[in-house]
Symmetry: C2
Subunit: 771 residues, 2 copies
């Protein structure tokens, strides 16, 4: 067997510069019983998933495009998979150690060396780090046996409820099937995995702790380290800025294997880390080196440190909601405050960007995170149905200024007060907290998704959630924690542009709501046309029908017959749809305008409202219709650009009472200037006008906007006009700010009258039409 060796630089928080790492070649095969061996082995790509190796080895179809290919993996759910690899005994210097390290094996597994079991674990988030030194032979075989998928007796076995089976595991519930995710329960090695030669002196665990005073830009600083064989060795702790200048440089002799280093004085004149659009994302370089008496480096850890203080405080107006007795509690706070400044949290729900999270890389993460920055986002809610992402995700969020609302892997289930489950949760949560707390971008811990709702049936008293509060407070008390989302005052939903029972159009119900945070809301659309064309045979493309690729990719049969395509709504609003191009245009227009409405309305509800996070950002495979802003793998939909505009720090905005207008009706729009940052906006003339048919323009009014203060909106007049007779069924409201074209906003509305032509909207999406 071929074996290759190289030393590589980690794309993660800590790098072990002085150690030698060896990658391995792996093979994998499946078997029916625990004690069997695979009859056949396939070449394995690590990190990845057993399904991917099986697919390549058995020449199965890829699961992304066309039909129900993902179902081909279901018969293997109850199989065992065994990975194997072999390696020669390394040449070790006196005292050196030889370790096997894996940053993630999904989900239950047994590791053996030369036939002897050396480790057993349930949990994909706790790094495996095994000292093999004393067990090495000249030729070694290492195996990892992956246990079958866990199923829970009494679970419902339909796509909607198969997630029941996830309720005793600390594993992404989404893999069991969701309304935008096929049932595809990944297993196997999903993160970096290697052999490592180390010195006997090792840095085992570190923690960078600081307590920042954002006003004085100074911080108490402490570095905690746990070593192996460190006593008597020398340490060097350095913190330097991007220009390479040290702001801290401490040296000394190590007197105990568990010790803390803290400078006498606070760190001063710090440049702070800010979320996107609120300031720079300054990161300092930290290095902790352990040397012997001769100065030889024995081990080293490096990290990026961003100095910021994060709080979650009561929303303005949150205390005075109840006037009559009996009084309940006030709303739960959702106002994020960074370095003493209020932040209006704008962003999206980060879901699995891949069915196979083993394939996620720094490069694939960066595409999405860079797009988030460009859309003026400053937060991701990392939804509890998915994984805790790899280190490079957090590194990139640090760099791009995207706060991370990190949920633990609990979603839409009642996780039991069962000692075995709670033990695994404790182990996994402890590993997760210790790892992620080091990141400047960490904004908020959360127990999981929608756990206090009827479909989950957990409460404040469930031990899993009390345990998570216990652990986060114990290990990382400075980061806010909530048990789940939504809490009281926060809102989830709705997920369509129009539903009569929910108050009609988004435009109609959204201004009547009063929430401190909109932490999930969606408006669906079909995918970009290129994505649709790749997704199914051309014969299925138009008209969309059940029983085709449209249905397997979530356009029909989700939450009722017509989601996420919503064909009856589209037909009602646009008449009979005659081509795929028209379908994409109308559906995406609806998503653009619906999302813009909610994002901007939530901002108009500031300061009581402090958060606007749509459902969802991306998708793990190609969805024919979905609430996502980005098609798999990384193609923005038209709505992505519109949402980005709705999230500009400063913009002119209009509250329009409905989307569809009838001939002869009096159109109205309340004007606003929205300002989410801590800078004043100078006064200017704001003009509202209607543009219809072939660029006919009618001015509604001029507003002499007087300017607004830091982090304050300004409400302007309401523009009103009896709508002129139009030829086309689309018209635009344009709100311009004199001298500030970057503040201009546009809204496309629907016009209904006799003899009206169905105009096709011009919308922009990746590789698509640009208006």
């Amino acid at each position: 067997m071929k074996k290759f060796l190289f030393t590589f630089i980690f794309s993660t928080l800590f790098s072990f510069a002085q150690n030698t790492q060896t990658l391995l070649n792996w093979q994998v095969g499946y078997h029916s019983n625990s004690n069997d061996l695979p009859l056949k082995y396939y070449v394995s790509t690590v990190p990845g998933a057993v399904q991917l190796d099986l697919m390549v080895g058995e020449k199965m179809k890829q699961p992304y495009w066309f039909g129900n290919n993902f179902e081909q993996f279901i018969p293997y759910e109850q199989k065992w998979f065994t990975y194997k690899t072999s390696f020669d005994k390394p040449v070790l210097k006196t005292g050196q150690k030889f370790h096997f390290v894996s940053k993630g094996i999904d989900y239950q597994f047994i590791i053996s060396l030369n036939g002897e079991k050396i480790h057993e674990q349930e949990g994909m988030f706790t790094y495996v780090d095994l000292d093999l030194t004393s067990k090495l032979k000249d030729k070694n075989e290492l195996t990892i046996k992956i246990l079958p998928v866990i199923t829970v007796a009494g679970s419902r076995q339909t796509i909607w409820h198969y997630r029941d089976n996830a309720r005793t595991s600390v594993k992404p519930a989404v893999s069991y099937g969701w309304d935008w995710h096929p049932r595809l329960i990944t297993r196997g090695i999903w993160d970096e995995t290697y052999l490592e030669t180390r010195n006997s002196t090792q840095i085992k665990e570190v923690n960078t702790y600081y307590n920042l005073n954002p006003n004085s830009k100074s911080a108490f600083f402490r570095y905690d380290a746990e070593l192996l064989d460190g006593v008597g060795k020398m340490y060097e702790l350095k913190l330097s800025n991007a220009a390479g200048s040290d702001i801290l440089n401490l040296n000394g002799t190590i007197s105990s294997d568990k010790f803390s280093i803290s400078p006498k004085d606070s760190l001063k004149n710090l440049e702070l880390w800010w979320p996107n659009t609120y300031g720079k994302q300054t990161l300092y370089n930290l290095s902790f080196t352990v040397k012997d008496a001769s100065g030889t480096v024995l081990d080293k850890k490096t990290a990026k440190v961003g100095f910021r203080k994060i709080e979650m405080l009561m929303n303005e107006g949150g205390w005075i909601d109840f006037t009559e007795f009996p009084k309940p509690r006030a709303v739960a706070p959702t106002q994020i405050v960074v370095n003493g400044k209020k932040v209006f949290a704008k962003g999206s729900n980060w879901v699995h960007p891949e069915i196979f999270m083993g394939l996620a890389t720094r490069e694939s993460y960066e595409k999405h995170i860079k797009l988030a920055k460009e859309a003026n986002f400053n937060i991701f809610r990392v939804w509890g149905g998915g994984v805790i992402n790899k280190e490079s995700f957090f590194d990139l969020c640090d760099e791009y200024g995207i706060l991370v609302w990190q949920e633990f892997p609990l979603a839409c289930n009642e996780y039991p007060n069962d000692p075995k489950y709670l033990d695994v949760l404790k182990q996994e949560a402890t590993s997760i907290i210790k790892r992620v707390r080091q990141h400047a971008s960490l904004g908020l811990w959360c127990g999981g998704n929608e756990l206090f709702n009827e479909w989950s049936r957990m409460t404040d008293q469930h031990h899993a959630l009390r345990l998570l509060d216990h652990l986060t407070y114990g290990i990382d008390p400075q980061t806010p924690f909530i048990m789940t989302s939504p809490l009281n005052g926060m809102g989830h939903g709705h997920y369509v542009m129009y539903e009569q029972a929910n108050g009609g159009e988004v435009f109609q119900w959204m201004p009547k709501k009063k929430f401190t945070a909109y932490t999930e809301f969606g408006v669906p659309s079909v995918a970009n046309i290129e994505v649709l064309k790749a997704m199914m045979p051309s014969s299925e493309l138009f008209p969309p029908k059940r029983g085709t690729g449209w249905e397997t990719h979530h356009a029909f049969g989700v939450w009722g017959a017509n989601r996420w395509l919503e064909l009856p709504f589209l037909t009602e609003y646009f008449g009979e749809i005659k081509s795929l191009e028209d379908l994409v245009a109308y559906s995406q227009l609806s998503q653009c305008e619906g999302y813009k409405c909610i994002f901007e309305e939530s901002r108009r509800q500031k300061p009581f409202c402090a958060m606007s996070v749509n459902w969802c950002y991306q998708e793990p495979w190609p969805c024919a219709a979905n609430n996502s802003l980005i098609n798999w793998p990384s193609a923005p939909k038209a709505a992505y650009y519109h949402v980005g505009k709705a999230c500009r720090p400063v913009l002119a905005s209009a509250r329009i009472p409905k989307w569809r207008w009838d001939e002869g009706e009096t159109f109205s729009a309340e004007l606003f200037m929205l300002n989410d940052i801590h800078e004043k906006v100078p006064g200017a003339k704001v003009t509202a006008k209607i543009v219809y048919d072939d660029n006919k323009t009618l001015k509604l009014l001029d507003w002499e906007f007087a300017g607004c203060n830091e982090y304050e909106n300004a409400a302007g007049p309401t523009a009103r006009m009896v709508l002129p007779k139009m030829k086309n069924n689309l018209f635009k409201l344009v709100v311009e700010v004199a001298g500030k074209p970057e503040y201009t906003s546009e809204y496309t509305c629907i016009y209904r009258g006799n003899d009206v032509l169905n105009a096709k909207p011009k919308i922009k999406y990746l590789n698509g039409v640009v208006e």
Copy 2:
């Protein structure tokens, strides 16, 4: 100085039978600076308070009766107080130890022996236990220096806001002044305090842990002990029932000073502990004895163990409150379930029964707890403005079946994220949790009172509350915890019979409310007539005026000019009031009927509602008017008896839409049978009738009640009748159950018409009129 010695039996959970305890004679004096000594010493009664010793020594007035005597203590708030006592060196056998023990010193103090500081503490709930052995001289002087009252810079200095000063202390906020408590900030030794000779082998800390399966009446059992010098000694662990039969008897040799003992098999055939009216309060006797090889007892701990499982689960109907998106979370659960059976929690808010909690004894506690049992109560919410009670309180709650909702000492303040405060809170909460968790009656931990309301301004993110969740889950995970009351779904208030702005009469708004728990609600009345006569000079008694004993004792000027007397309301409902007797009768009638209305209405709202706990049970000194059911020190008001009837496990009940009726109106009443226990109620004929003037009776209707199931109410018909012309302004609705006189309920309503006479209600209160 006289010194007396005796061995006494603890009135507490654990008794140190093999040790010899010595009580001390104490003196106390005050001084202006830390390093001064008192110029004068007074004889001190321990346990007590420095104010009581000062009062006796200086022949000051008692603070309870008449005027503003409590204010005489205010000038001493910034004084230091020093206790002193002396004792001879005891004769100790080899290895014996000599300890100073105090179960409570209020609040910051320094203990010195022979002039040398040996201990310093902030916190009145952590027991002091100091080994003096190595420091003893032939003649010894022990001093305890009590620091001045803590005040907080920037606090508001009025009665309503002087509690601001409590916001950095783990001390009852109520002492700083409340709407029914004078400003009287106690300090000093407030619980049992003694010297103790011990063997070198000592039992330091124990914990009885069990995990009960209520269906099989079996429990996993474990006893954890921490010893001093225990290795090699013998232990005996016994658990016996009331008849003296052992159900567990384990012996062995102690191999480690920290160890656990657990029988191989579960305990079987257990008789369970139940709250009052739900079953018996069975308590087992536990003893843990450590002996030497010759069988001599070296140390021993005894305890009572009641086996029960307590859960707080979602209320029936609690999941389905929200139909429209966006959806917030469901209500917080308040359904207490004991041993798998739902309990409707009925009871009262336990406040300080004494200004000076040092005076509370088992005997004084028992008067109140026995009354609670007799009123069919099963819960006390031990309000966070007060203390954590002494051990005998919990012992008695175990015996009488009263669940304890135990709040930590936080109330109506924003307690800071300050490391010093949090350190004291951690120390105190840890002591409290370890002590109280052993009690069968412990039902619920709660962070404190009304902390999530506008007047306190704490949130889920405050470290004090996260710390308390962290500690309770870590030390006592099996007991539910809530951060504060009210939470969402729970209601506090209102506190008067009538207020226009709050929806009028209690009768009018209460049926429209929908809460899972009414955890505070009050209807005020003046005190019993004997109490009033003792409280102020006869010249002040009638008519009640501001600037008299009425005002200093809370009848005026509380929450506005007229609370708690509510004279405008009484005059509006009863006309000009002509005597003290009439005032007491009308005011107490209003309290009786108002409380009956709320208690019974909350029960009618079962199963969504699961808790009804009025504000408040007793009072710490004589209140001229208050929401209390019991006058200080222990005299029930009329409302106590009416509330007791409203809390009968089974009763006939009527929902009456208003209290005051006009001539010619159609009176109506919806009939119900209420059943809070897990027994069926057989069918019976229920008759509703009106009794007015001189026992004139008019039947409204007969209801052929068909019976109801375990823990289920039954709704009957609505009785209606045009009211007859009456002479008197009071009439009664009587609801009788044939063959079950104990289910009968009566309601007195107000009639308003021309030429109506003001009849004086006959109400029962201690030593008062019995109808």
